[in-house]
Symmetry: C2
Subunit: 268 residues, 2 copies
C-alpha cells in the first residue's frame, strides 16, 4: 500500500534533514533515492548538477510512487550553493580523504542529525556521484565524513544503497531515540552561507597578501582553512566578529605597507 | 576498486549466513543483491523459483562485478527445499502476518545470526518476492520475522534495499561485536530437514485421524503446529523422540480402533 502524497511527519516540530546528491549520473538512482526517502520519512531532495538534466522520466518510474521528493527537488550548480542555508552537512563517502574532519558511522551521523532536528537546525546528508564520489573541496564544506562499513575488498556501494543505510539509521532515531537534551545557553551555529562569506573574504585577502605560495598548493591550503573554521561551528555573531578581524588585519597590513612605502620614499 | 573474486572471509572459522530470495521477479534486483552481499562480505545466494529463469544476464550486469554470489547461486523449487540444511531462518517482511513467531529488528536478527555463525550453525536470511512478499506458509518455516522500520505510509521497500539493511546490520556485528559466549551444555538444534520430516509425519497421522476439521482450516492449523514446533528448537535426538511419540500415539489409536472393532463384532 503506498500513497503518492508525503506521509505526515511524525513530529511537525522537527526540522527534518534534506538529502543532497552531488552530480548524480543515473535517473534510476535518483528515483530509488526518492523511494528510500519515502520509506524512511524524509521529503526534501536537492540535486547538484544531475548529469542528464532534470526532470527525468526514469526517476519517476523508479520511485515506485514516491513522487513528492522528485517533484519538490531543488537544483543547484554547486555543492556550496546547495548547502548555503544549512547548519550541518554530513558527507557520506567510502574513502575518507585526507581532511581534518571527524570520520563517523551512519549511526553517529543519524544521532547527531536527530539532535539538530530538535534544535531546528537544518542538516544536509550529502552523497557523491556514482563512480567519482565527492570531490575533496566539497567534502571540506562538510562537518563530518560518514563511512559505511563495507568490505574493503568490495567497497563500491550503489548510491541509493548508501542513502538507504544512512536514512535507515535516521529512522531508527525517529522510532527509538529519546528526545535529546540540550545545553540551552549555547547559541545556534550560523547557516553555512555566513561561513562561506567569511571564507571568501579571508581567502581574497590572503590571495592579495601573497599567502598562497606556491600557487599549486593554494587549493589544499584553502581546503584546510575551511575545514578548520567549519569545525569551529561559529554563531552568526562570531562570524561577524571574525570578518571584522580579517578586515582589521588587512587594514593593518595596508598601514604597514603605506609606512614601508613612505620609508622607502624618505630614503630616496 | 573492486575485485571479481570473493573477499577472504574475515574469520574462516565462522559459518556465514546465506541469502535466500523467494520467487525473485527482476534479474536487476538479483544482481543488486549480489552486489550488496559483496559489500557486506556474504557469499552464498539461494534462489527459489526465479520468475524469469536462471541464469539471467541482467543480474550479472547489475552486480557491478560481484559475480561470485551469482555464479555460485543454487536454485530450489520451494522455500522448504532451500532451507532444509539450515538450522535457523529469518524471514524479512514488511507486514508481520498472524503467526506466533517473534518479530524482531534487523539488528536483533544480525546479532542472533552472529551467535549462530560462531556455533557453526547455518543461518538463512529469507526475503520474499518484490510485490507479493513471503507466503504465510513459508514464513511458518522460519524462526523469526524481521521487520525493517519503514514509514507505515510508504512501506514498499525495494528487495535489494531490504537485503542491504539486514546485511549492513550483519556487517556491524562482524566489525564491532565481541565473539559471543555460549552455554556449552546445550546441544545444537537439528537442521530443518529433520523438523520437516517430523512435520510431515505428524500431519499425515493427524490427517488420517480426522484432526483437520473443517478442511478449509487445515492450512492454518498446519501452520500453527509448525510454528510451535519450530520454536521448540529441537535437537536431532529430540526430533527422533518426537517421531517416536507420534508413532506410539498412532499405534495406540490403531489398537483402540481395533479393540472397538472387536467389541462391535462381539456385540453382533
Amino acid at each position: 500500500m503506498k500513497d503518492s502524497r508525503p506521509a505526515p511527519p511524525l513530529d511537525p516540530s522537527l526540522t527534518l534533514p534534506c538529502v543532497i546528491l552531488d552530480k548524480p549520473q543515473l535517473a534510476d538512482n535518483i528515483g530509488s533515492v526518492a523511494r528510500v526517502m519515502a520509506n524512511f520519512g524524509l521529503q526534501e531532495l536537492r540535486l547538484v548538477n544531475p548529469r542528464d538534466g532534470w526532470p527525468q522520466e526514469r526517476a519517476w518510474a523508479m520511485s515506485s510512487g514516491a513522487f513528492w521528493p522528485l517533484e519538490g527537488a531543488k537544483i543547484y550548480d554547486t555543492v556550496a550553493d546547495a548547502v548555503a542555508d544549512l547548519t550541518y552537512v554530513y558527507a557520506t563517502t567510502a574513502r575518507p580523504r585526507e581532511t581534518q574532519l571527524p570520520v563517523i558511522t551512519p549511526r553517529e551521523a543519524a544521532s547527531q542529525a536527530w539532535g539538530q532536528a530538535h534544535q531546528h537546525l537544518k542538516t544536509g546528508l550529502l552523497f557523491g556521484a556514482e563512480r567519482a564520489g565527492l570531490e575533496t573541496s566539497d567534502i571540506a564544506l562538510s562537518h563530518a565524513i560518514v563511512t559505511i562499513p563495507v568490505d574493503p575488498h568490495f567497497h563500491s556501494l550503489n548510491l541509493a544503497q548508501a542513502v538507504n543505510i544512512v536514512l535507515y539509521e535516521w529512522r531508527l532515531q525517529v522510532m527509538d531515540a529519546p528526545k535529546p537534551a540540550f545545553t540551552q545557553n549555547m547559541d545556534v551555529p550560523a547557516a553555512l552561507e555566513h561561513m562561506h562569506g567569511l571564507y571568501g573574504h579571508l581567502e581574497d585577502e590572503l590571495e592579495k597578501a601573497g599567502f598562497f605560495y606556491p600557487p599549486e598548493k593554494k587549493e589544499s591550503m584553502v581546503r584546510n582553512l575551511r575545514v578548520t573554521l567549519n569545525r569551529a561551528q561559529m554563531t552568526e555573531q562570531e562570524v561577524r566578529t571574525w570578518r571584522g578581524v580579517v578586515t582589521a588585519l588587512t587594514r593593518g597590513r595596508g598601514r604597514v605597507l603605506a609606512k614601508l612605502a613612505q620609508q622607502k620614499k624618505d630614503e630616496v
